[in-house]
Structure formats: structure tokens, C-alpha cells
């Protein structure tokens, strides 16, 4: 009975979305005509209440599905497919988004949260703009809700009620998985706000700096969440897949990375457009592209077009539906762009050496990287369609091109904040930064001689990280010394994010350079030494988990002969389906992770064990979190909320 209520709520949410889309958009079109002013006012007034109602309805549907999981209502197909009675309680809550149908409901929920937030915090904007922005979000909500209800209904009943369900995919029974998908979805779907704003601006034919200022924090917050989501996914892959890698250029990782790159470009171009009016058309196009890439990501994961560890079961009807939705949203937006963008006002002119130019270069490099990832991800499909044979595109392609494209960006990062808008003497920022560039290169050379292995990567990592860090701090120093000029949250956010890049660069390049890995056969009592670390194998014990049995290895790790931690790498066999999962035993450290994974039993008490020492690997995620934090801090700048008055 409850499930039917959930279903009804979802249907009502769809109708509300329909209202929210049609009436406010029609009202906003009619607003220019004085004869229809009454209709316009009434129709636009629907937008906010509809947004709130939608949140209540979708939240209700979501709670109903959660209750079905907690109470183990196996009469629902989705529940019986993705949980069983042995599943621990906490994973019953997270199983709600463990597979396709429920994760769509989570998308819809996140969308309605953003929707309601826009309704709540858009008071300073003109009514017409609010009506258009909410109307566009309503259109997107129609797409998601009808996709869920018509092709992937989580509330579908089974005619024969099974006594026991299957199980949640063991890969997903993990604390990291509890927050990874929601963060990712919040980020993905959050780009709907700049997208809706772009459409509203195109319909209006005017990019008002004041409205753009209002959109910027939304982009920053969405991008921050996406960053956290991607970082959590990478962290999860690191310890759960048992490989010790942190990025694989898997199609689904790429699907989340493309909107991230486009979003990073958008954050920068929005700043330029808001402050200088420069490249307004490009900013709108980028906003459209960022959200389109989010939708493309959803499409790639859910359509079965590309195969990946992450992909949900293939179903062509779903694929066609979401492709039609994607084509309608993106095609409509682009058509509008093509018709209206040439009429946008040109921004103020700027010289070749100016902050505008640097931001343009930043955007070109990020956009090129994004296009490169898109091409690599779709190339196997393209080759198939053109009958060029089966191809798989792997890390050699992505890694090489990505480094080539990002290297100039890393070089330019510290220049951005120190360069003046419009016109700059190239010698001024150069003079400020050259000493630090020299110092960074010097440290790189030192690293070259000190690194026991991977000299080139170690040197590049140290030099690049020091350069970005010191160059960014140089800006902070200049700014703090300047009397009477505030250090705004916007600047603090930028600084945090750029320092995050430095931390990330250090982590990524140093772990690639200095990582040591040994595969060994070990019997109880055996010791293996890796640099300063020693590992002693103490055998394997059998452990009974709630819904699995595990072989748990006992590996005592030492650093400089002092005991560090007893590691517990596990191989788990889950009760249902017999899937075997590895769970690495990791001692996390600021300067190095010590990592043990259990392989096969070799008989006679001997086991294959993989031992790794991974220096600075934490810095990768720490850097990502700093970047995300930068996005959030920027969004708190009160300047963005002063929309009605002009800039003080």
C-alpha cells in the first residue's frame, strides 16, 4: 500500500514539474505585453510554490522507498533485486540508490532540492528571470521523473512475492559508497542552475552582470560537490578494488570528469563575464555544455552503450528514452544559443597581456582536455560505427594528452590572480613570480637527485607543486600587504582551490614516481622489507561477516622497526551470488600509505600477498578536497548576494 502512495507522489511530482515548466515560461514570455500583464503575473507566481511542492512530493516518494528497504518489502522488484534479509541495516538505507531505478529517484530528489533552493534564494532577481530559471529546471525535472516512471519504476510490484531477495552488489557494501553517489549527483545536477540561467539569459537576449553574479555561487557549489564525489569514488576504488590505483580512465570515471573540466572552465569564464562583460556568449555556451555533459554522463552510464565496471544493466528502451531527452535538452539549448547569441553585447576590449587572455587560455586548455576525454571515451563506439574494428583506448592515450594539456595550465595558474584586467605590463607579474619559479625549479632538481626511482616524475611533481603553491601565496602576500583592500571570501576560495591543485600535483606525481610494489608468496612468520617499512605475515584467519565469509590476512607492518599497525587485508565471499571481493588492509599516513592485499592461497599455509608503500597518495584526495572547499568558500562571498544594487 505504502509503495502505491510513493508511486502516486512521484506521479504528482511529474504533474507539478509540468506546471512549473509550462506556466512560468509562458508567463515570462507574456510579461512584455501590457495587455497580458495579469496572466503573466499569475502564471509566473506558480513557479515557487510548484518548486516547493515538488520537493515535498519527491522526498515523500524517496522516504517510501527507503522504508520498503528497511522493512524488506520483497514484493517490490527493485527491493528484492537489491537487498536480502542478511543485509546490514546501514546498507539498507544506501541500497536505495544501489542500482538504476533508485539512483534515478535520488537524482530526482537532488534536482528538487536544487529547485527549491533556487526558489528560496532567488528573491533579489527580477520575477521574469526567476520564472524562466525555474521553468527550465521544471523542464529538466519532467525529463527525469518521466524517465524514472515510464522506463525504470522503482515501485514496481512483483506478482509472486519472493521469500528472500538477491543482494546489494557487494562492491557497493562499503562506507565510501554511502556518500560517493549522492555527492556526485548533487554536483552533476547542480549544473542545472547555470544551465537554466543561460537559457533564461538567451530568452531575454541579455546577459546582465547582476544576474550572472547571482549564478556564480551555484556553479561553485555544484562543482565543489562534484569534486568531492569524484574524489570519494577514486578513494573507494583505491581501497576496495584492491589495486592500489586511484584513477583508471574508465568510461564512467570519464563521464564524471568531463562535466568537472567544463565546470572548472565555467567557474573562470563566469568570473570574467561578470566582472568585465567579456566573452558572455562563450560563458553561456559553456554553461550549456557543462550540464549537457552531466546528462551525457548519465546517458553513458545507464544506456549500456559503453561497457564499464560501473555501468548499470543495458536496456535499449532506457537508452532511447534518455537519448531523446538528452537530444531535446541539448538540441533545444543549442538552437536557442545559435539564434540568440550573436545578438549578445560585446564585452570591453582587452589587450593580449591581461587577465582576460589568461582566463581565455585556461578555458581553451580545459575545453581541449574535456574534448580529448570525450573523444577517447567515445572512440571505441565511433570505430565500431565506422567499421574500423574494435579499439580500446586506455591510459597511454589519456595520460599523455592530459599531461600535455595541463602542463601549460599549471605553468599559468600563479599568473592569473597577479595579472590585471584589461591591460598589463607582462614584466610586472613576471618580476613578482620569477624568483619563485627559480626556487621551484631548484627544488625540482634536488628532488631529481634525491629520488631513489622515478626521477623525472618526482622532479616534475616537486617543481610543479612548489611553483603553484608559492605563486599562489605570492598573490596572497601582495594582497595582504596592500593597505585598505579586503581579502574577500572569493579570493580565499580561489587561493584554497589553487593550493589544492599544488597539493594534488604533489600527491599524483610523487605517488607515481615513488610507489613501491611487491608480489610475494608468504608463509606465517615471513618478513618482507620495502625501504623503511617491514611487513610480517602472521597467517590467515577465517572470519564470518553478516552476509559474507572472509579470509582475513594478518600482516604486521613496521616502520623503522617500530610496529605501525596490524593490517587486515580480506578476501570476502558474499553469501548470495558467490562474488569474491578484495578489501585491502591500509595504514593511512600523511607521507605514505602502507598497503597489503591478499591474493590466492598457495597451499601449505602460504599465501600470495601484495605489499605496497605509496608515498603521498593521500595528498591526491586532500588536494581535491581543498579545491572543493575553495568552491564552497567562494560561494559564501556576500558580494554575490547583492544583486539589486550595483557593485559597491
Amino acid at each position: 500500500m505504502l509503495a502505491e502512495l510513493g508511486q502516486t507522489a512521484a506521479l504528482l511530482a511529474l504533474l507539478t514539474a509540468l506546471l512549473q515548466a509550462v506556466l512560468p515560461l509562458a508567463g515570462a514570455q507574456a510579461a512584455a505585453d501590457p495587455a497580458r500583464a495579469r496572466f503573466a503575473t499569475a502564471a509566473m507566481a506558480v513557479a515557487r510554490p510548484a518548486a516547493y511542492a515538488q520537493l515535498v512530493l519527491v522526498l515523500f516518494a524517496y522516504v517510501v522507498l527507503t522504508i520498503a528497504f528497511v522493512q524488506q518489502d520483497f514484493s517490490l522488484r527493485y527491493v528484492s533485486d537489491n537487498s536480502n534479509s542478511l543485509l546490514p541495516l546501514v546498507y539498507r538505507y544506501t541500497a536505495v540508490w544501489g542500482a538504476h531505478e533508485g539512483s534515478l529517484l535520488l537524482w530526482a530528489l537532488m534536482l528538487s532540492v536544487w529547485n527549491a533552493a533556487v526558489a528560496l534564494w532567488s528573491k533579489p532577481l527580477p520575477e521574469v528571470v526567476v520564472a524562466r530559471v525555474l521553468g527550465v529546471i521544471g523542464l529538466v525535472a519532467i525529463g527525469f521523473l518521466s524517465f524514472m516512471l515510464f522506463t525504470s519504476n522503482p515501485f514496481e510490484r512483483l506478482l509472486l512475492v519472493p521469500v528472500e531477495g538477491h543482494d546489494l552488489n557487494p562492491l557497493l557494501q562499503d562506507p565510501g559508497m554511502i556518500i560517493h553517489p549522492p555527492m556526485l549527483y548533487v554536483g552533476y545536477i547542480g549544473f542545472v542552475v547555470p544551465f537554466a540561467f543561460a537559457i533564461a539569459a538567451l530568452l531575454d537576449g541579455n546577459v546582465d552582470a547582476r544576474w550572472l553574479r547571482w549564478t556564480r555561487p551555484w556553479t561553485n557549489v555544484a562543482w565543489g560537490f562534484l569534486t568531492i564525489g569524484i574524489a570519494l569514488g577514486s578513494w573507494w576504488a583505491y581501497y576496495e578494488l584492491g589495486w592500489g590505483g586511484w584513477w583508471f580512465w574508465d568510461p564512467v570515471e570519464n563521464a564524471s570528469f568531463m562535466p568537472w573540466l567544463a565546470g572548472a572552465a565555467l567557474i573562470h569564464s563566469q568570473a570574467a563575464t561578470e566582472k568585465r562583460g567579456s566573452f558572455a556568449g562563450w560563458t553561456l555556451l559553456l554553461a550549456i555544455a557543462t550540464f549537457s555533459l552531466s546528462l551525457l554522463g548519465a546517458f553513458l552510464v545507464r544506456s549500456g552503450v559503453l561497457t564499464s565496471v560501473h555501468s548499470f544493466a543495458a536496456d535499449p528502451s532506457r537508452g532511447l528514452f534518455i537519448l531523446a531527452f538528452l537530444a531535446a535538452v541539448v538540441g533545444g539549448a543549442l538552437l536557442l544559443y545559435v539564434l540568440r547569441a550573436p545578438r549578445l553585447p560585446e564585452g570591453r576590449a582587452f589587450a593580449a597581456t591581461s587577465r582576460e587572455t589568461l582566463l581565455l587560455v585556461n578555458n581553451l586548455l580545459l575545453a581541449a582536455a574535456c574534448a580529448m576525454v570525450l573523444l577517447g571515451t567515445l572512440y571505441p563506439l565511433l570505430a565500431d560505427a565506422l567499421d574500423l574494428g574494435k579499439v580500446s583506448v586506455g591510459p597511454p592515450y589519456f595520460g599523455t594528452l592530459f599531461v600535455l594539456l595541463m602542463a601549460p595550465l599549471v605553468l599559468l595558474v600563479p599568473f592569473g590572480p597577479l595579472t590585471r584586467w584589461q591591460q598589463e605590463q607582462a614584466s610586472r607579474p613576471l618580476a613578482m613570480l620569477l624568483p619563485w619559479l627559480g626556487l621551484a625549479l631548484l627544488l625540482g632538481v634536488v628532488a631529481w637527485f634525491m629520488a631513489p626511482q622515478g626521477k623525472l616524475k618526482a622532479a616534475a611533481g616537486v617543481a610543479a607543486a612548489t611553483w603553484v603553491l608559492l605563486g599562489t601565496l605570492r598573490f596572497v602576500w601582495t594582497r595582504l600587504r596592500a593597505q585598505g583592500r579586503a581579502f574577500t571570501p572569493e579570493m580565499l576560495g580561489m587561493t584554497l582551490a589553487h593550493v589544492g591543485i599544488a597539493v594534488f600535483l604533489a600527491g599524483a606525481l610523487l605517488v607515481e614516481a615513488l610507489n613501491v610494489q611487491r608480489e610475494v608468496a608468504m608463509r606465517p612468520g615471513d618478513m618482507v622489507e620495502i625501504g623503511r617499512h617491514t611487513f610480517r605475515f602472521d597467517g590467515v584467519e577465517r572470519v564470518q561477516g553478516p552476509n559474507y565469509v572472509a579470509d582475513r590476512g594478518l600482516v604486521q607492518a613496521f616502520r623503522d622497526d617500530r610496529p605501525l599497525e596490524l593490517l587486515h587485508p580480506e578476501k570476502r565471499a558474499y553469501a548470495s551470488g558467490g562474488q569474491v571481493m578484495t578489501d585491502a588492509g591500509i595504514h593511512a599516513g600523511v607521507f605514505a600509505d602502507v598497503f597489503a592485499a591478499l591474493g590466492e592461497s598457495l597451499g601449505n599455509e602460504a599465501w600470495a600477498v601484495r605489499l605496497q608503500v605509496k608515498p603521498f597518495v593521500r595528498w591526491i584526495w586532500a588536494g581535491a578536497f581543498l579545491m572543493a572547499l575553495g568552491g564552497f568558500v567562494t560561494a559564501t562571498d556576500r558580494r554575490f548576494r547583492r544583486v539589486t544594487q550595483d557593485r559597491a
Binding site: V305, G319, V338, A385, K390, E519, G578, G599
Partner: protein
């Protein structure tokens, strides 16, 4: 499009060029994705007729993954049918089909031979250690030179070679239980491999 009106400013022309680029990219992408959706459910999605079917398997002499220095030639394998499963530790599809191959190998209907393609020695060993080794024997073709004779252009691929060394069946892409039951099973019955 009608006859182009004389345009006073360069702006509209720039607009048209942008529009053309956007339209081409958009149409190409949607077309490609539409094609992807259409082929995504085809059971034989990856199947391309192999010219090898019904012909003798290519002659080879390849090293063995687990025994350094030992070479195994195609001749040594004749006399009994075998299933040749092409894989690499870098290949996500191989990880997906791995449990299926393992279950099939446990039925012991015929020898399942791994063909480790374009891989690194340590990665390959680690992969098998991690996910289990269902193979009777793992052949190694690190530079992929021999794979050309087999017409391998992706992993996973799976070949059935009968007792006389004739290629009887080929599957491109991950093997699943349905493929084994509906495609491989009948061929095995036809060439008289006992259940």
C-alpha cells in the same frame, strides 16, 4: 537557406560559422549515440564473422605465463578440443566475464586456455591471483604479434578449437551464461564434446 542577404557587419557571419560547427558536432554526437543504443542490446553486438571459422587455427609457439622458458606449440594442443580465451589485466570486459569463464571451466567439459594479450607479466599474474585462475594453461603474447594471425583486435575474445585444430566458434566481447548456453553449447554438442 534563402539567398544570403548582404550583411553589414561581420558579426552574423561569425554567428553562422559558430552555428554550423555546433550543429555538426551535435548531430554527429547524437547520431553516434543513437547507433550505440541500437547496437547495445544485440546479442551478437560484437560478433563479426571470423574468416577462421571452419579453418585450421593458426600455428603458434608461445611462452607460458607461469613457467618461464617453456614454450607451448599449437601442435601440442591438438588431439582434444580447447577453448581459447583472450584476456588482459587492463581490460574491464575481461573482469566482467571472468566469473563466467571460471564457472564454465569448473564443468571440465574441455580445456580452457588463457591467451594473455598485450599485458605486463606482473600485472597478469596479479590479476589471476586476485580474481582466481580458471585456466588449464595461460599462453602469453605480450607484443600481440601472434594475435594478428588469430584476427584478434580486442579483448575479451573467445575461440573454440576442435580436436583436429579447426576453429569452430568465436565470440567477441564478454561471454555470459546465455552465450555459453545458447551459442557455445550447441557447437560443443555438434562436435561431440561429452557433457
Amino acid at each position: 537557406m534563402t539567398t544570403p542577404a548582404p550583411s553589414p557587419a561581420p558579426a552574423p557571419r561569425r554567428g553562422k560559422a559558430t552555428a554550423a560547427v555546433i550543429a555538426v558536432v551535435f548531430v554527429a554526437l547524437v547520431g553516434l549515440l543513437f547507433y550505440g543504443v541500437l547496437v547495445s542490446d544485440r546479442a551478437d553486438r560484437e560478433a563479426l564473422p571470423s574468416p577462421l571459422i571452419g579453418k585450421p587455427a593458426p600455428e603458434f609457439s608461445l611462452p607460458v605465463l607461469h613457467e618461464a622458458g617453456r614454450l607451448v606449440s599449437s601442435r601440442e594442443l591438438h588431439g582434444q578440443p580447447y577453448l581459447l580465451n583472450v584476456w588482459g589485466s587492463w581490460c574491464p570486459g575481461c573482469r566482467i566475464e571472468h566469473p563466467v569463464i571460471a564457472r564454465f571451466a569448473e564443468t571440465k567439459r574441455l580445456r580452457v586456455i588463457g591467451y594473455n594479450w598485450k599485458d605486463e607479466h606482473a600485472d597478469a599474474l596479479r590479476w589471476l591471483e586476485q580474481f582466481g585462475n580458471p585456466y588449464w594453461l595461460v599462453l602469453v603474447d605480450y607484443d600481440g604479434r601472434k594475435a594478428i594471425d588469430w584476427g584478434i583486435y580486442g579483448a575479451p575474445e573467445t575461440f573454440l578449437v576442435d580436436a583436429d585444430g579447426i576453429v569452430r566458434w568465436k565470440h567477441v566481447g564478454p561471454v555470459d551464461d546465455a552465450v555459453i548456453a545458447n551459442e557455445l553449447g550447441p557447437v560443443l554438442d555438434a562436435i561431440g564434446v561429452p557433457r
